[in-house]
């Protein structure tokens, strides 16, 4: 009888399914996943988040923990402000300049103070969050979408910063610096693109 419990339970679960809720629109969770995919499909935001996470990881555990909360919260607050705007806003030059600064700091590996990293993160997050908020206001993203964006950023920072903190061999730290130089280089090119 005991051995029959598992197959019987499985059979009951398979036969008693409700709707699979394939279409997220009806569950109201569509915008949340739209928010997740927005971050993952926005290279400029992804680069900035990656750069900040690498920078915080270089700064150590304390810096990483501070960034883990600062960046998503700043993004969310910026987004809430942006939700009340009537037109979508984007600041490509400011965004690309931020990439240059973040990338250059990672490339230099100066063990920047946590206060500097958090200030940069706060400004970057608020700026991009504001831009996302203005877009969310014009579309179906709304507050749920902003939550999805913030959640994704939280996860990305957690993974990348923790990975960077864990690196020990010297060549891996050099690889992080190379990644920072790539971010700065992309920022430089974007600045040129925005100003052409």
């Amino acid at each position: 009888m005991k051995r029959a419990v598992y197959p019987l339970s499985l059979a009951w679960l398979l036969l008693s399914t409700a709707q699979a809720q394939a279409h997220l629109v009806t569950t109201g969770l569509g915008p949340f996943y739209d928010g997740i995919s927005h971050v993952l499909l926005s290279p400029d935001e992804l680069l900035g988040v990656t750069g900040l996470a690498l920078l915080a990881g270089q700064g150590g555990v304390r810096c990483s923990r501070l960034l883990l909360w600062t960046l998503p919260v700043a993004w969310m607050l910026g987004g809430l402000l942006g939700l009340h705007q009537s037109a979508a806003v984007s600041l490509p030059v400011v965004s690309s300049l931020a990439l240059i600064v973040i990338g250059a700091l990672v490339a230099c590996d100066w063990r920047v103070q946590a206060a500097v990293v958090i200030s940069l993160a706060g400004m970057f997050g608020a700026l991009h969050g504001y831009g996302n908020g203005t877009v969310a206001a014009q579309s179906t993203l709304g507050m749920t979408g902003l939550l999805g964006i913030s959640a994704t950023i939280f996860v990305l920072v957690a993974l990348l910063a923790a990975f960077t903190v864990s690196l020990r061999p010297l060549w891996t730290r050099a690889a992080v610096r190379v990644a920072g130089s790539w971010i700065a280089a992309i920022g430089l090119l974007l600045t040129g693109w925005a100003l052409r």
Partner: protein
Amino acid sequence: MQRCGSPPELKHWHLRCVWFLTLVALWPVSAWAHVESGQAGGLLSGMVHPVSGLDHVLAMLAVGLWGAQLGAPAVWVLPVAFPMVMALGGMMGLMGLGLSGVEVGIATSAMALGTMVLLEARPPLWLATVLVGFFAIFHGHAHGTELPEDASGLLYSMGFVIATGLLHACGIAIGLLHRWPAGRVALRCGGAMAAATGVRFLWRALG
């Protein structure tokens, strides 16, 4: 229950499957699911551009080779400096700021960096970085002025920085031959070939 073939046959079947899947994965048509106009074109254009010219490829490989010969910290300082200064040159090109003698500069870079590899030159780190940075501006300017009209700026930039970095990485990987005496000779021969090809490009650029 009878086994499906003997172990060597199974292993052979597995190898065939791996080869088949690799071919399918590399078959370009299979990757072009939805190519939104300008997006994939921008990333691919960017990635292809640094490898589209032998002069670019030689210079970037030479940077990696020379860094490997010099050892740490040059082995990562030079591949950090080159993309950043190259991007500065690219920014100048994008903004329409002129730079004279771009083709001459690019040809000279292959010649000069190839010569550094040939001679196993060991200048101070700052001098090596300045030399690499000086030539990087010409490469970047050329990339910036040659971008296609419909390319997505961000994806193009990402593509070309990544491709440049990967070329440096190839140079560094080849430069690991430096550990062996025969490898050192091979690297110096490679440097000589790069320098000779650079002379040929310079001749054409001046002609």
